[in-house]
Symmetry: C2
């Protein structure tokens, strides 16, 4: 039996123009930077290339009144990095919002849907 | 000023194995089929190719105990289509779940984040 967590996904994203200012991946990245103390180590821990990691940090930093991540030696030098006060605040609020939304999902509508949802799809029948 | 709806996106998906059994696009498609009475007309109304529309319907139909859409003349003949009783029930529960989650988002964490979120990103600085 597949767990409810595997069957229901709720993605919360904050947008700024065409950029995603905060979402599940960026929140995880912020936590990894806070833990690892560097952008490159955080990216490695998440299995992402340095370029992709840097682009995510750059996008986050451009979307808020102040940057969420500060680097000590500039983007390209791969120096140390820290999550700013605003970054910690946004991360905390984002996790709270996720939890509030998570609690809202419990209830009759979800239970009714899960009772009719198969564990695996039937095979496709291209014509009948 | 960008509206809150443009700035916050919450995507609710139900998964069945590797398929998405229900999500925002599939729920809109079910409503379009219900309104248009055919898969091809529903796809056209949503700006999708017939092939893509048919694949979405096929995926939905394979993920639940019974199909959500019934075609009167088979998949390839582009005949009429109707949303089944189970389809209507799943759609109603999905919209209720979306509304419950939508209400949960109101509150301090979101307000705090929106107050620091820019309308548009700053320009990127590739090095500093």
């Amino acid at each position: 039996m597949t767990s409810e967590t595997d069957r229901l996904k709720i993605k919360v994203q904050l947008h700024c123009g065409d950029e995603i200012a905060m979402g599940p991946g960026k929140a995880d990245l912020l936590e990894a930077i806070d833990r690892e103390g560097s952008i490159s180590a955080a990216g490695r821990a998440m299995g992402m290339s340095y370029r992709r990691t840097w682009l995510l940090v750059d996008a986050m930093n451009r979307c808020w009144d102040l940057p969420l991540v500060e680097t000590t030696m500039g983007g390209k030098q791969r120096g140390g990095a820290r999550v700013t006060d605003l970054g910690r605040s946004i991360l905390r609020h984002y996790r709270t919002l996720q939890n509030d939304i998570d609690r809202a999902r419990a209830g009759e509508p979800l239970a009714a849907m899960l009772s009719a949802l198969r564990d695996l799809p039937r095979a496709s029948q291209q014509s009948e």
